[in-house]
Amino acid sequence: MTARTRPLKFRLTSGDLLYFLHIPKTAGTTLFEILRKRFKPEEAVSAEGDVFLDLCCRSSPEDRARYRLMRAHFGYGVYRLLPRRPVFVTMLRDPVARVISVYKHIRRIPHHRLNREVIELGLLEFLEHPRARVRDLQVRHLAGFRLRKEELGALCDDDLLELAKAHLDDLAFFGLTERFDDSIRLLSHTFDWSPIEGYEALNVAPDSPEEVDREALQAIASRNRLDLALYAHARGLFEERVAQLDAELREADHDQ
C-alpha cells in the first residue's frame, strides 16, 4: 500500500467545534489550557460523564451552538451526540509510561475514586485491579465512545487497531507527550495560530527516583500490545508531519 501525505493546515470555520479527545495522563490538561486560551471563556467547556451527555443531548440548540471547544474523556464515537462532525485533536503517549503515570496519579491524589484501593498496591497488583483501565486505553479511545468492550463488538483486535489508526490518520491534529514542544509547534501551524509560548506543565507528578522493575514493565507491555502498535504508527506519522511542518516553514521564509 502507498502511504499518502495530507495538508497540515486546517481552517476552522465559525461553526466548527474543536473536540479535545482527552486520554488520561498524556499531558492533556496542559494542552487543554493552551487550547482554551484561543477561545472566549463562554465558548469552551470541559465536562465528564452525565454532565457531558446532558450538554450534548439535553441543552438547547442555542446553548450547544455557542461552544467551540469541548474537552472530555469520551472517545471518537462522541460525534454521534453532536449535530455536526467535530474537529478532533488528541495527545498520545508511550503506553508504558502512561500506565505508570496513571498509577502514580491515583496514589498521589487523595480524592481520586480509586485512591484508597490503590494506595497500598504495588504496580503489578494495580495492573490486576478490575477498575484500573490500563489495557489498550488509547486504542479504545480512538476506536470507540464509552470504551466498553461490548461496544466494540465483533471487531477483532487487529481490526480495532486498524480502526484506531484510521481515525488517528484523519484527525486534524494529534501530538505526542514525549514531543510536547514540537506538538505545540505543529498545533499552532495546523490552525494558523500565532506561536504558542510560555505554557506551564499542569497536573504533573513530581520527579520520582523510584525505578520500575522489569517484570512490571513487561506486564504493562503485554496488556498494551495494541497501544504499543498504535503508538509506533503515531510516532512515524508524527515525524512525517514535523518534517512537513519544517519544510513548509522554510518555504514560507523563502517566499518572504
Binding site: 495538508p7 486546517f10 451552538a65 464515537g77 465483533a154 477483532c156
Partner: protein, 355 residues
C-alpha cells in the same frame, strides 16, 4: 460492530448552516441523488456552487478553487473526500457539512450499468457496449469491480491515508462497514432513493429550508421511476456477492432514516405545542369575553330603552304634554307669585303621581 447508533441518545437533527460553511453533497453513481439537486442548489447562488462535478485532477480542483478566493458554499459531485483526497480537502474545505443518498445495492448497480450503456461519454461505455455485456456479466467481470464492489461503502469511507480507491478492497469487510457507518452517521443528512419524499422532508427540516410547492410533485415523479429495468435472479445474485457490506449499510441506513424521520415529526409537534396559548392566557381571554358579552347585553338594553323613549317622544300623548307644559309656563312663569298656588292645586288634583 461499533455501538448501535440506534441505541445512542438521538442527536439534534437541525443543523445551522453558517455563512462560512461548505456543504458537500456526495453524488454516488446510480443512487438517483440528483433528484434532490434542485432542492439543494436552489438554496445557493450560482456563484457559490463549485463548478466541477467529478475529479478531473488535483490541478483542476486547485484551479477551480483559485478562481474564487472567497470560497464556495456548495460542492456537488462524485468526489471521494478526505484528508488524503485529490485536492478538495486542501483547496475547498476540511470539515464540510456532508450529505448523500443511498440506494438498494442491486438497484444501484443496475442503474449505474444502465447509465454506462446509455452514455457514450462514460469511460467504460465503449468496452461494455463493444463486448455486449449484460448486467450479470458486468457484475462478474473483475475489470468492472470498482463499479460494483461495495460501491457505496467505499465511497463513504473516502480517501484514506494508506489506501487508494482500488486499495480500499484490502480493508476487511467488518472494518469497511464500521468506517462507512461512521461516515454515514457523521453526515448532517442522508437520504434513501426508495424513500425520496421522506428524505426530502428530512433534508428541508435539517437545514431549515422552505419547501418549494413544486418539489413535491417532482419528487413523487422521481420516486415512481425505478431507473432500471427488472433484474434477473442471476444478476441479483452476482451483485449481491459483491455488495454484502453495502447491503448491511443500507439496512442500517433504512432504520436510521425511519428513526430520524419520526424524531423530526416529534420535534415538529413539540415545537407546535410550545407556541400554543398557555392555559392561563386562555382563561384570561375567556374572562374578557364574558365582560364584553355583559357590556354588549347592557348596551342592547340601553338601546331598547332609548328606542322606547323615542317612541314615547313621538307619541301624541307626549306631544300633548309638551304643549301643555309650554302653555303653562307662558301663562304661569316660574317664580311668579301665582306659581306656588298653581303647584298646590296641581298636587291636590294629581296626588301620588306628582313628585
Amino acid at each position: 460492530m461499533t455501538s448501535d447508533p440506534l441505541r445512542a441518545p438521538p442527536r439534534c437533527l437541525r443543523v445551522l448552516l453558517r455563512e462560512d460553511d461548505v456543504l458537500l453533497f456526495s453524488l454516488i453513481p446510480g443512487t438517483g441523488a440528483e433528484a434532490l439537486l434542485p432542492i439543494v442548489e436552489g438554496q445557493f447562488a450560482a456563484a457559490d456552487v463549485f463548478p466541477l462535478r467529478a475529479v478531473d485532477s488535483g490541478k483542476a480542483i486547485a484551479a477551480a478553487a483559485a478562481e474564487r478566493p472567497e470560497g464556495y458554499r456548495l460542492v456537488c459531485g462524485n468526489f471521494l473526500f478526505g484528508p488524503y483526497d485529490d485536492g478538495l480537502y486542501k483547496h475547498v474545505a476540511q470539515n464540510p457539512l456532508r450529505m448523500t443518498m443511498l440506494r438498494d445495492p442491486v438497484a444501484r448497480t443496475a442503474c449505474e450499468f444502465r447509465e454506462i450503456v446509455e452514455n457514450p461519454a462514460h469511460p467504460q461505455h465503449q468496452e461494455v457496449v463493444t463486448e455486449g455485456l449484460d448486467l450479470t456479466q458486468f457484475a462478474k467481470n473483475p475489470r468492472f469491480r470498482p463499479y460494483v464492489y461495495n460501491r457505496q461503502a467505499r465511497h463513504l469511507v473516502g480517501a484514506t491515508r494508506s489506501v487508494t480507491l482500488e486499495g480500499v478492497d484490502s480493508l476487511a469487510d467488518e472494518l469497511l462497514l464500521t468506517i462507512a457507518k461512521e461516515r454515514l452517521e457523521e453526515m448532517a443528512f442522508f437520504g434513501l432513493h426508495e424513500h425520496l419524499l421522506e428524505s426530502a422532508q428530512l433534508l428541508l427540516y435539517t437545514f431549515g429550508w422552505d419547501p418549494d410547492a413544486t418539489s413535491a410533485d417532482r419528487l413523487a415523479a422521481a420516486e415512481g421511476l425505478s431507473g432500471y429495468g427488472g433484474v434477473s435472479e442471476e444478476a441479483r445474485e452476482a451483485i449481491g456477492e459483491q455488495t454484502r457490506v453495502d447491503a448491511e449499510l443500507y439496512r442500517l441506513a433504512s432504520r436510521l432514516l425511519t428513526q430520524r424521520h419520526e424524531q423530526m415529526i416529534e420535534e415538529l409537534i413539540h415545537y407546535h405545542h410550545r407556541w400554543r396559548p398557555q392555559e392561563a392566557t386562555a382563561a384570561k381571554v375567556r374572562q374578557l369575553e364574558e365582560i364584553v358579552t355583559e357590556q354588549r347585553d347592557a348596551l342592547a338594553v340601553q338601546r331598547r330603552d332609548l328606542k322606547r323613549l323615542k317612541a314615547i317622544e313621538h307619541s301624541w300623548g307626549w306631544r300633548m304634554l309638551v304643549e301643555v307644559s309650554g302653555l303653562r309656563q307662558q301663562l304661569i312663569p316660574p317664580e311668579s307669585p301665582v306659581e306656588p298656588l298653581y303647584m298646590g292645586v296641581r298636587r291636590l288634583l294629581l296626588g301620588r303621581w306628582v313628585r
